[in-house]
């Protein structure tokens, strides 16, 4: 089933980490397997934030030496960052397997991400001037507390509660997905993509990489490919309705925008609230009520509808 949600404030940064936590917690019943957040903080053009994991949570159940391995893998990460000329400003480790790096870097971000992902167990979850992507097993409150999202200030965010249907229950298959290797672009999805393997092979022939077997990752790669070809976010969303087959509703965020698309069958839900200050959208209205607790006018976007909002 899955639940998706997004919020964008037209103006100053607010406690968007807390807002996304409240929205996703109210959608817990739509997917108890994992929860993920892509939140956008105050942009620092000369600084990057990289979210990285070096193992899966379940590795701790099966591998006695995993802590030592993670320590060795992190040393490799530090070496490669130094080799590529990245200056590490700060490192945090909210869980035994997840890391947050604050960096100064002026090189090729794709090269950096690819190099780090060649390290065993390595996956760059996000890389950007404002994007921070956090995902883990458990409900929104658990994940938010684990990663300290309550204090996160930002202008917008998207999130996901996952009911695993097309792939495994692990962090790798959890949403959101970063539109690798593009700065600050992330995707969450509710639905099933029926031409996943056809589209995936097409993307792989074009040189894109997939880290999971989750059909939702295709939307991130597909968006990245369209943007690489010069499309706007709205172009990409519109094209997806024609080219992606299945039942889906998804949300994409960039450093300045929030967009959504609904498939031709309109089989996956979305409720939308817009005011002068805020746009909030979610699979169910209860998620919007979690941050706008008064009577409001909401609507459901129709089939093949595409919307994009600016922060």
């Amino acid at each position: 089933m899955c639940g998706i949600a997004g919020v964008i404030h037209r103006g100053n940064a607010v406690g968007v980490g807390q807002e996304m936590t409240a929205m996703l917690q109210s959608l817990k019943h739509r997917g108890p397997d994992s929860t993920g957040f892509a939140v956008y903080g105050v942009t620092k053009p000369d600084e990057y934030v990289m979210r990285l994991k070096l193992a899966e949570a379940e590795d701790f159940d099966t591998d006695y030496n995993i802590r030592d391995k993670i320590r060795d893998r992190q040393a490799l990460v530090d070496n490669r960052l130094a080799e590529l000329g990245a200056q590490t400003l700060e490192v945090e480790q909210p869980t035994p397997y997840a890391f947050r790096y604050r960096l100064k870097f002026s090189g090729d971000t794709k090269q950096l991400a690819t190099d780090l992902e060649h390290i065993e167990g390595g996956e760059v979850l996000s890389f950007g001037n404002s994007l921070e992507l956090i995902k883990d097993l458990g409900d929104a409150t658990v994940v938010s507390k684990q990663y300290g999202l309550a204090d996160f200030q930002g202008t917008h965010g998207i999130g996901h509660t996952r009911m695993a249907t097309e792939s495994d229950v692990d962090i790798r298959s959890a949403h959101p997905y970063w539109a690798y290797p593009y700065n600050d672009i992330s995707v969450v999805h509710n639905g099933q993509i029926t031409n996943y393997w056809i589209m995936r092979r097409e993307m792989e022939r074009l040189g894109h990489r997939f880290m999971s077997n989750c059909d939702s990752e295709l939307l991130a790669v597909y968006t990245a490919n369209n943007l690489e070809q010069g499309a706007t976010l709205e172009d990409s969303l519109r094209a997806s309705i024609k080219e992606i087959d299945g039942v889906f509703t998804y949300i994409v965020a960039t450093d300045k925008e929030l967009g959504m698309a609904k498939d031709t069958m309109a089989a996956k839900p979305m409720v939308l609230y817009e005011s002068d200050d805020i746009v909030a959208l979610a699979s169910e209205e209860v998620a919007i009520r979690a941050i706008v607790p008064r009577e409001i006018d909401t609507s459901d976007p129709y089939d093949e509808e595409v919307r994009v909002w600016q922060r």
Binding site: A266, P269, E284, I288, R289, D297, D300, Y302
Partner: protein, 290 residues
């Protein structure tokens, strides 16, 4: 050896078939007779077990702020048992599955919005909702009325069997999917596949409809005030009759959803019945051998 035969249609059956409709075969208070539009509003025959004798002048309130849906529904039932005929439900906050399974006369006023599955499986109450409703509102409703002031989500009135389900705003996709009776009235627009596999009843859309309107409908009637993006398979335009106009005038006036163009803006859609296999006789060459 015997062959299956069908009884000659009654005068009413013949008349309704000419208009692309036919009488319901249901019994009890869910029975709908298309040419007596007030019959289902008269609340006759509430004689099922567990129905309550209520006084419409006895009014009570429920504040749903700190209650689960199950508790709210249980409280409504308790209050009906205590004779309350008018209940005001405050702060529903888009919770799911509120006011489901009410099998009694009741005036229920909901001050706010409902989530999914609101007012499903009801038989008898008149419900007014000041906010909006989520997916599957009024699913399997049997009789009574639901009036929604704002918008509604998809599957609005799915498998509706009787009563009036009215939304003054826009509604989502698959409105009235598989409806088997009753009336759905939409003051604004509907999404795609409205009236999909509709079997009986009437649907009124004052605004525009999405693609595939009336797709694979077996029977029933759709009145459209605006434009459809497309008609579905086997849905065809038909001629409006004086009876249609009279019925529309009464219903739309009653619920105050008359479009600017008035009754004259409506056109009628029925099943072409090229795909019709529901209620059809077996082919005559198929004989039942005893």
């Amino acid at each position: 050896m015997a062959t299956l035969t069908r009884a000659a249609p009654s005068e009413q059956e013949s008349k309704s078939h000419e208009m692309g409709m036919h009488t319901e075969q249901l019994t009890g208070r869910t029975q709908q007779v298309f040419f007596d539009i007030d019959l289902n509003e008269a609340h006759h025959g509430f004689s099922l077990p567990d129905t309550f004798d209520v006084d419409f002048n006895k009014r009570g309130e429920i504040d749903a702020s700190n209650m689960e849906a199950k508790q709210v529904n249980a409280r409504i039932r308790e209050m009906m048992k205590e004779g309350y005929g008018t209940i005001v439900l405050k702060n529903p906050a888009a919770k799911h599955s509120l006011a489901v399974g009410i099998l009694n006369r009741l005036n229920l006023i909901i001050e706010g919005s409902l989530g999914y599955f609101g007012c499903g499986l009801i038989d008898g109450p008149n419900i007014r909702i000041n906010g909006r409703v989520g997916w599957s509102c009024g699913e399997n409703m049997m009789s009574g009325s639901i009036l929604i002031e704002k918008n509604a989500g998809s599957q609005f009135g799915a498998a509706l069997r009787g009563g009036d389900l009215v939304c003054k705003g826009d509604v989502g996709s698959r409105t009235g999917i598989d409806m088997k009776g009753g009336n759905i009235i939409v003051g604004g627009d509907t999404g795609s596949f409205s009236g999909f596999m509709m079997q009986r009843g009437r649907m009124v859309i004052c605004g525009n409809a999405g693609k595939n309107l009336g797709d694979s409908m077996y029977d029933g009637t759709i009145f459209l005030g605006g434009e459809p993006r497309s008609l579905g398979v086997d849905a065809i335009w038909s001629d409006m009759t004086d009876l249609d106009r009279e019925w529309l005038e009464r219903k739309l006036t009653k619920y105050d959803v008359m479009p600017k163009g008035g009754i004259g803006s409506f056109r009628k859609i029925v099943a072409g019945k090229q795909l019709w296999n529901y209620d059809n006789l077996e082919p005559t060459e198929k004989k039942l051998v005893l």
